[in-house]
């Protein structure tokens, strides 16, 4: 490995321009949410909180934010529960056809959200189920199930299997093992999966748009805000969404069990 100034130079030359590219839109978005003017373009004036005040006093925005939070929390909780049970079943029992089951669980990852949403739209209208936040929530469970499954399954390890066997040897029933050994041991993995699902769900546009009718979620409202052109209020909305997702993402990162330095992502 190169050391000293040569590494520093390579680092700057490679990472510098790429970091500018990656951070430019976010920096502009956040900075101009504090803009004291009507159009969010340079030169920057301010700072001012007027756009946040207007945003938070708009019923349309707060209702949508509330709808998004409810759908995200409920669908993520259900997705995480189903995924944890399934991961437990596969990690702790010899199930025939395990590869097929895993493949089926991961299948929704291989089609786009639009296809999942359209499929549900067609199926729901075929059996006469109307559009609602419930329908959108069902769609979000489909999208999040594979993610939560991968995260939780990756955190079952042999150390824990031993603890569970010990509990069983001491006469614990299956449900006692699950609630008193498995869940507490996996608590951080389960919470991490839940948070990951929340960040994806509360950001999701297409399924929510196709399946919800009169109570739009936040991304749907933000997209309709774009029709008015560039507007610092949209910057403020975007910044709030970003900050909340970021908080969940940082928590996720802290909760996921760290593997050894030679295997940073685990397998």
């Amino acid at each position: 490995m190169r050391t000293g100034w040569k590494a520093a130079l390579t680092r700057t030359l490679v990472l510098g321009p790429l970091f500018v590219f990656i951070y430019l839109p976010v920096a502009v978005l956040v900075l101009f949410s504090f803009h004291d003017g009507m159009v969010p373009v340079p030169p920057f004036e301010g700072p001012s909180l007027q756009w946040y005040e207007r945003l938070l006093s708009s019923d349309r925005f707060t209702n949508a934010a509330w709808a998004s939070v409810v759908v995200a929390l409920a669908s993520s909780a259900l997705a995480t529960l189903l995924a944890t049970l399934a991961a437990w079943g596969l990690a702790r029992h010899r199930v025939p056809g395990r590869r097929w089951i895993e493949g089926l669980m991961l299948l929704p990852l291989a089609v786009s959200y639009l296809v999942v949403g359209l499929g549900l739209l067609v199926a729901f209208s075929a059996v006469g189920v109307g559009k609602s936040l419930w329908a959108a929530g069902i769609g979000h469970v489909v999208l999040n199930l594979p993610l939560a499954f991968v995260v939780v399954l990756g955190q079952f390890d042999t150390q824990q299997a031993r603890l569970e066997r010990a509990a069983r040897d001491l006469g614990a029933s299956e449900s006692q093992v699950f609630w008193r050994i498995t869940v507490p041991q996996l608590r951080s993995a389960i919470l991490a999966a839940f948070l990951l699902c929340v960040t994806f769900s509360w950001d999701e546009f297409i399924v929510a748009f196709l399946l919800s009718a009169f109570d739009p979620t936040l991304p749907v409202v933000i997209l309709s805000m774009l029709r008015t052109g560039l507007n610092p209020q949209t910057n403020a909305a975007g910044t709030l969404v970003f900050v909340l997702s970021l908080l969940a993402a940082v928590l996720f990162e802290l909760l996921i069990k760290k593997r050894g330095p030679s295997e940073p992502t685990g397998r």
Partner: protein, 294 residues
């Protein structure tokens, strides 16, 4: 096999009970997958073969698909979608590789995780918002145009928004971060002794790169490329916000069938075409992607 053959009866009973417990735990998730993913997809597949209003109203046949391959607005949407998706996939990998490589080789091991997190932080902006942020940056009075004018490189603002290139920029921004994660995962697993051994045997820096580093990084590159392909070809939001009205992509055309024409069977047929494109991409990349699991 031999174990099963010699197993005594109680062991077989225990194994069967164990399998049943496992299946029981997996059942709710599988049921959800089947009821809300597999069945709807099958329904959509059936609808795509109906013309008109769907089963009950239209007639069964290949009409939608015939229309798709003969009507220029559909064939050009397919061509644009494939072109944009391929450009985005190639550019994302080309930009993500140096980023992942620099973090994996030019940064101290104990700081790599932090750098990786920093490199993908804007990943967490909502994608509606991320596309809007690019509109801000690229607008006629935006940061890029104003900087270029201050530097006197241009005198008139450039028309940077509402082109194919704008859509590509928005996509690449997102997927550079995603591919950096998958490529870094492959690169950081390479045993540095392999590269040292190659150098000891007289390989030049380039030879080591082409014959050791790149082949070992292939799984990360392939899985990043596949994810990029899947999401890009099916994304409605990014081209809708950034692309303008000149070149509509497949997801935009599919959404038009629903919101304007109420032609759900045609939208279903378009979705089936998208899924076929994704399957083709998977078959092309499968060799390297499955290599990642071994």
């Amino acid at each position: 096999m031999t174990l099963a053959a010699t197993a005594t009866a109680p062991e077989q009973v225990a194994a069967r009970r164990d399998a049943r417990r496992g299946l029981l735990l997996t059942a709710p998730a599988l049921l959800w997958c089947v009821v809300f993913f597999v069945l709807p997809f099958a329904t959509m597949l059936v609808w795509s073969f109906y013309s008109g209003g769907g089963p009950g109203e239209g007639s069964l046949g290949l009409d939608n698909y015939r229309r798709f391959f003969t009507d220029a607005s559909y064939t050009s949407a397919l061509r644009y979608s494939l072109e944009v998706t391929l450009i985005v996939t190639v550019l994302s990998v080309l930009l993500a590789f140096p980023l992942a490589w620099a973090i994996a080789t030019q940064v101290r091991p104990d700081r790599q995780r932090l750098w990786l997190m920093l490199a993908v932080l804007p990943f967490w902006t909502s994608y509606v918002v991320r596309s809007y942020a690019w509109l801000l940056v690229l607008s006629p009075d935006g940061v890029v145009n104003q900087t270029l004018m201050t530097l006197r490189l241009i005198t008139e603002p450039l028309e940077l928004s509402f082109h194919r290139a704008t859509t590509v920029t928005g996509f690449v921004h997102f997927f550079v971060m995603l591919c950096t994660l998958t490529i870094y995962a492959s690169l950081s697993r390479i045993d540095p002794r392999l590269q040292l051994a190659a150098a000891d045997m007289g390989a030049s820096g380039w030879q080591t790169f082409w014959r050791i580093t790149l082949p070992l990084a292939a799984p990360g590159i392939a899985s990043g490329a596949f994810l990029t392909f899947v999401v890009t070809i099916g994304d409605f939001v990014t081209p809708q916000i950034l692309g303008g009205n000149n070149e509509l992509l497949l997801p935009q055309i599919a959404m038009l069938q629903i919101t304007r024409r109420g032609d759900i069977p045609m939208a279903a047929a378009l979705s089936v075409v998208m899924v076929l494109c994704v399957s083709a991409a998977y078959l092309l990349l499968a060799r390297w992607i499955t290599g990642a699991r071994r």
